[in-house]
C-alpha cells in the first residue's frame, strides 16, 4: 500500500465522501473498516436518510388509504369503459349520409332531372304568358282592357282616332292654363308683374 493511500485511509471521511459512498451503494470502504468514528458517522447518515424515506412513505400512505385507492381504481375503470364506448353521434335526419358519399350515377340523375324540370318550367311559363296575352286581346272585360281595345280599334278607324286626339289636346291645354295662372285671385296682380323665365330667354 502506498504512503498516499495510507494517508488517505488514515484521514477521516468528510460529509461529501460519506454521501458519495452511500449514493454509490458501497458502504464497504476500507477506511470504514478501520475508523470507528467514520463508521458511526456513516451509520448516522444512513439512518437520517432512512428516516427521510420513512417520513415520506408515511405521509404518502396517510394521504392514500385503502378506501381512497379502491375509489381510484373504480374511477380508472369507469374512465376506461367510457373511453371504449363508441361516441354517440346524432345524425341530422335529412343528411344522415354525406352527399358526397352517394354514387356518381345517382347524382348525375338528380342533376339531369333538375335541368329537365327547369327547361320544362321555363317553356310552360312562356306558353302560359302567350296564352294570357292572346286572351286579353280577345275579351275586353275591364276598363284597362277597354282602353286597349279602343286603341286597337282606333288604329283601324280614323274617326275614332281624331276624336281621341281632340280630347287629349283639350285636357292638356286646360292643365297648362291652370298651372300658368295662380289659383288665388288676390295674387293675380302680383303675378302679372313678375317676369317669367321663358320671357327672359326670349
Amino acid at each position: 500500500m502506498s504512503i498516499l493511500n495510507r494517508l488517505r485511509l488514515g484521514a477521516h471521511l468528510d460529509d461529501a465522501a460519506i454521501a458519495a459512498l452511500w449514493a454509490e451503494g458501497r458502504p464497504a470502504h476500507p477506511h470504514l473498516n478501520t475508523c470507528v468514528a467514520c463508521r458511526n458517522r456513516f451509520a448516522s447518515f444512513s439512518s437520517w436518510l432512512e428516516n427521510l424515506r420513512a417520513d415520506a412513505r408515511t405521509e404518502a400512505d396517510e394521504n392514500f388509504p385503502t378506501e381512497r385507492l379502491a375509489a381510484q381504481q373504480a374511477q380508472i375503470f369507469r374512465r376506461l369503459e367510457a373511453a371504449e364506448r363508441p361516441a354517440r353521434v346524432i345524425a341530422f335526419p335529412r343528411f344522415a349520409e354525406p352527399l358526397t358519399s352517394r354514387s356518381s350515377g345517382a347524382s348525375r340523375w338528380i342533376a339531369a332531372a333538375a335541368a329537365a324540370g327547369l327547361i320544362v318550367g321555363v317553356g310552360v311559363g312562356q306558353v302560359m304568358n302567350l296564352r294570357h296575352s292572346l286572351t286579353f286581346r280577345a275579351s275586353p272585360v275591364s276598363d284597362g282592357r277597354q282602353a286597349v281595345a279602343a286603341t286597337a280599334a282606333g288604329q283601324r278607324d280614323p274617326r275614332l282616332l281624331t276624336a281621341s286626339a281632340t280630347r287629349d289636346e283639350t285636357f292638356l291645354s286646360e292643365l297648362d292654363a291652370s298651372l300658368s295662372r295662380p289659383a288665388v285671385p288676390e295674387l293675380r296682380a302680383l303675378d302679372a308683374f313678375t317676369p317669367r323665365a321663358g320671357d327672359q330667354a326670349r
Binding site: A56, N63, F64, F77, R79, L80
Partner: protein
C-alpha cells in the same frame, strides 16, 4: 439474490404476462376481458404510483388524478408497449411525465391566480380535527413540521436531482432502473443522487429561521 429481488423478478414476469394478455385481448376486441386482466396490473402498481405522484405533486387530489390519467393512458397505448421493457418502468415513465406536465401547468396557473389562504394552524379538513388514538397532537405537529421542511427542501432541488432522489431513495429503484425511467446515464444518476443528498443535508441543517428568511427573500427580492 435476496427475497425482495426474487419477488421483484417474479412480479415483473407476472406484469409482462398480464400486459401481453391485455394487449392480445384488445387486439381481438375483447374489451371487457382486457379490462378485467388490466385490473391485476392496476392493483399491483397503484399504491406505488400514488406514492410517486404524491411526492411530485404534494397534493393528494392532484396526485390521484395524475395516477388515473397514467393508468388510462397506459391502457390505451398498450399496443406500443414492448415486452422486453418491464411494464413497471414503462408505466412509471408515463406517470412521471404526466406529473411533470401537471407541475408545469400549475406553475403557469400560479402566476395568474392567487392562492386561497389555509385554515387555522394549517389544518386541512375536518378529519384532522377529530381526536384519534394515534400519536399525541404534539408528536403529530412535530412530524408534520418535519415533513413540511423536508418537502420544502426537496422542492428546492433541481428537477433531475429531485426525480433521481425520489425514485432511488423513496422507491428503492436501482441506478439502472432510474436510468431507464429518466433516460439519464447510470453514472449521471449516481452523480445526481450524490448532489441531491448533499444539498438536502445542507438545506435541512439550516435552522427554520434561516429557511424562512431565504423564502422571504425569494418572494420579495
Amino acid at each position: 439474490m435476496t427475497g425482495a429481488q426474487t419477488a421483484g423478478l417474479a412480479g415483473r414476469e407476472a406484469d409482462s404476462v398480464a400486459a401481453s394478455a391485455v394487449k392480445a385481448m384488445q387486439a381481438e376486441g375483447k374489451h371487457a376481458e382486457a379490462r378485467d386482466r388490466y385490473a391485476e396490473l392496476v392493483g399491483r402498481h397503484q399504491r406505488r404510483a400514488s406514492r410517486i405522484a404524491f411526492h411530485y405533486m404534494r397534493e393528494a387530489a392532484e396526485a390521484d388524478e395524475a395516477v388515473q390519467d397514467a393508468f388510462v393512458k397506459a391502457y390505451s397505448h398498450l399496443a406500443s408497449f414492448r415486452e422486453e421493457l418491464p411494464f413497471e418502468v414503462w408505466f412509471t415513465r408515463i406517470l412521471i411525465n404526466g406529473c411533470l406536465d401537471r407541475i408545469k401547468a400549475r406553475t403557469r396557473r400560479g402566476r395568474w391566480i392567487s392562492q386561497m389562504p389555509d385554515g387555522p394552524a394549517g389544518e386541512r379538513d375536518f378529519a384532522e380535527r377529530v381526536a384519534g388514538s394515534g400519536p399525541s397532537p404534539e408528536d403529530q405537529l412535530l412530524a408534520r413540521e418535519r415533513r413540511e421542511r423536508l418537502s420544502r427542501a426537496l422542492f428546492r432541488l433541481p428537477e433531475r436531482q429531485r426525480s433521481v432522489f425520489m425514485l432511488s431513495h423513496y422507491e428503492g429503484c436501482t441506478s439502472r432502473e432510474v436510468s431507464a425511467l429518466t433516460g439519464l446515464n447510470e453514472s449521471t444518476v449516481r452523480v445526481h443522487l450524490f448532489r441531491a443528498i448533499r444539498k438536502l443535508r445542507a438545506l435541512l441543517a439550516e435552522g427554520p429561521l434561516a429557511e424562512k428568511l431565504r423564502e422571504k427573500r425569494r418572494v420579495n427580492p
